[in-house]
Subunit: 223 residues, 4 copies
DNA sequence: GATGAATGAGCTTTCATTCAT
DNA sequence: GATGAATGAAAGCTCATTCAT
């Protein structure tokens, strides 16, 4: 079987520097076609995984949703696990890309931080099902894939570490531990997803986000 | 086959008031025996689930770890899914029970809150594998079971809501949204588990907890 | 899955000395049952392999012939390859055992050799389908299994080497290469099987065997 | 789809007389092209079959080795089984052709027979992998193809029957069964291949062949 | 009540073959 | 004539569950 390894498209320039981006096998050599079909595949997989989870979804299910037979799927992907990897990769990429775009580098450091946190929250809410999916299924990735995905998130955290450090400097309120702080502000908003069964019943989304933003700003000591 | 429904043992008195506590089928009529065997079963299941996850663990695996054969297991439990339910139930119960015990109702409200948050963090760290397990596998529960487990957590959150409201009153700094605040302080510490791949590399556990405590206290505006 | 390795029963005492007799996985712990079921399995497999060959026989086919479902088969065997190994092992064992029993250690060395060759031929003819099967499918064994089977045949050849050497000594006609000679007399009779499409049309079995015996005796220079 | 049946090229004139030479379907109408492409195909297939066997070789594998895509292959051949037939056909043809050429029709009947046997052995050794391939995979042919191949071998045996009969007459030592004898001398040398795992370890090739030649000559009673 | 053999549905994956381009 | 994407049947294997002993 002729095989070709196609690097997974990734939205960031730093991708090149990332450890070893996992390769996914494709039987087809037409890179454009591979990209296209994988796109359909991943989109379909996200839909069914959201509903049934990775393990309770069969390759046939994915195929049905994507309008491909299983045989076809295996032209573009080496295994079911590859699909999960592509799904996680895409979700993380999209989430991060969108967050990046929503950042507001206006002058005031307080405003900058607030807007950054708000951006995270809003993208989180918008993609809540996908985020939930990664929290529920990413541990099913093989060790290598998981490391790649985590490395990607780590980069994302690093970006916020820079933002916070800069703001802290400008405000004259040095952060004792910027890495921890960056983890805090990128992680905390997942509460909107992982606790939505508790929060949804009692709060409106917009309020939640404002509350969260203020909570984090205070937590950082930037108020 | 004579069957009997045995209420799942739960550490709290309020259990009776919980919506509809899920029943788990047992073929055996001896309630004590059922309790004992389920205890062994759950303990064994936790161990193997932590290592391999629910889906990659077979009923045989659980049986081997518990010293029971498959047939025996089905005397005390109706299905593999039941075991997952019992496991989640026990983990949540133990976690909550232990946290409750660690609360310090000393006079000073600030100290009280700090100690409460620290208690959560410490139990979280102590049971990190079990907590991770619930975050990874609880979505595999059927809707009913999930609701029961969530209701249990909601109770727990409610307890902290009370603590926070009381402290806020004493401090004269009213919380705009105690339910949200209670979710915040009970959820945030999960970062120690769900981001441990990022945090472990760079921070010592004790520092992390102190940082977290102060972050939350500031976030609450109790500082 | 609880597993037990059961040594494949082998007819010869020397088995213990054989390199590393291949182990075959069994999920069942009851050694007697394993033996019994494997017996049925192998018998059924021989029948279908003879007809369709290893590759064109599915595990389901074997199961149907053996009166077991595939699930059951995998209680007694680790893989389809294991079945092939067991089949080859049994065929070789039976063939050799039967040949051994047919040996006539009478006084006259010429008669002894003749009877040995005749024994080989007769058992060969009796088990021609099975012998054919090993010649057609044994190359599908994994390297390890093949080595074990070959080692078994080598032993068999060795036995004849001894017989021939002894006879040669008694006759005062030393064999230049007893190992080669032993290979010759154990291999040549396979012609009855591997060329049966040519021989059957024109010759009667009994004549063939006599011809073969005399051919070999002359070839050895024992005439 | 226009189809044309192309007779398989065969090296011997007698081919026309052979029962019913199997036809192999070709989508292409250009007989020369078909011959050429099939040549490439067969050569490639022999190489991969030798290594992995028929069943473990996919049509893609053959195509890759032959520098053709799957689609192209099916322009020149009707099925994967056809390829096996062509492969067996070619191997047998080449083997026989080469042996024929090596025959030495010198005057002395003993020398003639010796040289004939030696020729068989030498070609056998030279083509051992191909010969092994036919012994391992020819049973995968459909009945018709197998019959055709066997008929071809029967012709070959017939040729040696003539040689032996003639020699026997000249020597004044009539052979009781020339057909059997011809089978014996054409089959016995396969020992060099089918027992090579036993012989290679202990003997040098040239010695083996000499031993074999003498063994057969004695067996025939021509010594 | 305990056992573990039996079941069979269901899984992922491969691959010979077809056919639109 | 060449391509290779698509197909879908069929394979080996696993495992939750049942039930006779």
């Amino acid at each position: 079987m002729a095989e070709v390894k196609v690097k997974v498209a990734s939205g960031a320039k730093e991708a090149a520097a990332r450890p070893r981006a996992r390769q996914v096998k494709a039987a087809s050599k037409d890179a454009d076609l591979v990209r296209e079909k994988r796109g359909q595949l991943v989109a379909a997989a996200v839909r069914v995984f959201k509903e049934k989870g990775f393990h309770d979804t069969s390759v046939r299910d994915i195929g049905r949703e994507a309008g491909m037979t299983q045989g076809t799927i295996y032209n573009y992907v080496g295994s079911k696990d590859d699909i999960l990897y592509l799904v996680c990769d895409q979700i993380v990429s999209e989430y991060q890309e969108e967050t990046r775009k929503a950042l507001d580098n206006s002058a005031d450091p307080r405003t900058r931080v607030r807007s950054a946190v708000r951006a995270i929250c809003e993208v989180m809410v918008k993609h809540q099902d996908e985020v939930l999916l990664t929290y529920q299924d990413s541990h099913l990735l093989d060790a290598r894939s998981r490391r790649v995905i985590f490395a990607r998130v780590e980069e994302f955290v690093g970006m916020f570490e820079t933002i916070l450090t800069e703001a802290a400097r400008e405000l004259g309120r040095p952060l004792p531990d910027p890495h921890f702080a960056a983890n805090a502000i990128t992680f905390f908003p997942t509460m909107l997803v992982l606790r939505r069964w508790s929060l949804k019943a009692r709060h409106r989304q917009s309020e939640l986000i404002e509350w969260l933003v203020e909570f984090l700003v205070r937590g950082l000591g930037f108020e």
